[in-house]
Assembly symmetry: C2
Homo-oligomer: 297 residues x 2
């Protein structure tokens, strides 16, 4: 029953390879932490890093990463398409195995405290770790970005949870526990972007659709097809199967078809096995016992 | 990259609890072997035991199991509904993780040799381990059962692969490598057993249906519904999704519906994640990389 937690921080550097490698090395050089993936987006000037391990190893790797990023990344000189407020912009902790949401909240607080103490970067606790309702959402915390943050944190509503003010070059960082996020896109057999946008609007939570679903319509230019691009923020609330069935229906009503899907990056086994359970209508399925590999984990 | 192999032997005792426990203890007492399940059928007078571990641990556990069963189970006094030819009747080896079919074939030969040397029970290699085409199928080997085996093994076509003759009380045993077998049943919204039998006949390989599919119609008396009861002998050839879609179609043609399914016992993660991949039509899915848990196994 070894607890495994994953972290997927974004750092505000996606162009300078040396800086990115120096940051990623902090994960590589932490015993017990496993680097799963990292991917830079030059136009966003941003890199997402994925790693996992025991809570202790992830704590160590995460603090080391922020220290190195704060040393090498200067937000006063940062340009990119994506909004950002810190050298490490956001650092979520996700339970993978035998770890609870509470374990991830505890880890986020331990890491947040050390980030201010050891790197001097003030920390906001967000999502499940948030200390007030209005500080749950990352976009709300980040509003004003690095350039506006010095002023924003003077408002008592926006005092950081650890530290005060902002780090002059590394800004602030949001740290918190959240469920695994699944990036999942459904391709339509049409170049009608308006249709993808309409369907996206109907399924997303913010406009009254499915809980824990974010969605926009986008155009896949190289294939000349429209896509409903989805972020599933809690697959245990709205499943991959459910969202797919509903998008299929809504496409059909409009005379179109879902012709395929994309699963971006990593996905928990259970999110996919839940699809099998729903799709095959398996009665009395016992995930923990009946999936052989669960006896090896 | 630790290799894991599973074995699912059947022993010819399903009534005497002491004998069953003494046999199962051989698995419990082998270091590196994990007992996953065991289940006795009194009317069959037969117990299926499921365990897994490194090839070395599974070899040790398997040989110990046959020695104990040969000591305690006397086929000259055995009665039960299920055909049988040995104290341990059949012992398949299935690759679970990082192990190949070749690894399982090698293991079956090592175990088979030791079973004759250490327990004195002659061994047939079957399925992927078979030394001739006509010795592949378990039912063909077992034909004549314990009572006819002494005569049958005199035929050069049916000489055991290890040893000669039969063990006086423990008979003979079939040992071999095979893909994981999935027991999967589809429930219809009808009490029409004839319909379930018709569908079963159309989908099973032996009557020209889907490759690697065995099927019969049965009645679920307590629910008064008919069921298509399926053995999937290689889910990489015919998938759970495919067989389900086809049974749904064939039921629909007859005015009925599939209303649920049963997955019996253990199932490899990949068989279920393949369902998700097909059901969601995921493009360019990389099972090994994209399923987080694969990085922990």
């Amino acid at each position: 029953m070894a607890k495994i937690i994953e972290s997927i921080p974004n750092i505000s550097e996606g162009r300078n390879k040396e800086v990115v490698e120096a940051c990623v090395d902090q994960i590589r050089n932490t015993k017990g932490a496993t680097l799963l993936d990292y991917s830079s987006d030059p136009s966003h000037n941003r890199t997402v890093i994925t790693y996992m391990g025991s809570p202790e190893a992830v704590e160590e790797a995460s603090v080391k990463l922020v220290k190195k990023a704060a040393e090498l990344i200067d937000l006063t000189k940062h340009e990119g398409e994506h909004p950002r407020m810190g050298a490490v912009d956001v650092m979520p902790f996700v339970p993978i195995k035998d770890a609870s949401e509470e374990d991830c909240i505890a880890l986020s607080k331990a890491v947040g405290k050390r980030i201010f103490e050891e790197a001097g970067v003030p920390v906001f606790l967000y999502e499940k770790s948030a200390t007030a309702e209005h500080r749950t959402n990352l976009a709300a915390i980040r509003k004003g970005q690095f350039e506006g943050m010095g002023e924003k944190v003077k408002d008592p509503q926006w005092h950081p949870d650890f530290g005060t003010g902002i780090h002059k070059t590394a800004g602030v960082i949001a740290v918190g526990a959240r469920p695994p996020l699944i990036a999942y896109n459904l391709n339509l057999n049409t170049d009608n972007l308006e249709m993808a946008n309409e369907i996206a609007k109907e399924i997303r939570e913010s406009s009254g659709g499915l809980p824990k679903v974010k969605a926009i319509g986008i155009m896949l230019e190289e294939r000349n097809i429209a896509q409903v691009s989805i972020n599933m923020t809690d697959y245990t609330v709205t499943s991959l199967f459910k969202v797919t069935e509903i998008v299929k229906e809504k496409a059909k009503e409009r005379g179109a078809l879902v012709i395929g899907s994309e699963l971006i990056g990593l996905c928990p086994m259970k999110a996919l096995i839940d699809v099998a359970e729903e799709c095959l209508m398996i009665e009395d399925f016992n995930y923990k016992v009946q999936v052989i590999e669960n006896h090896l984990l």
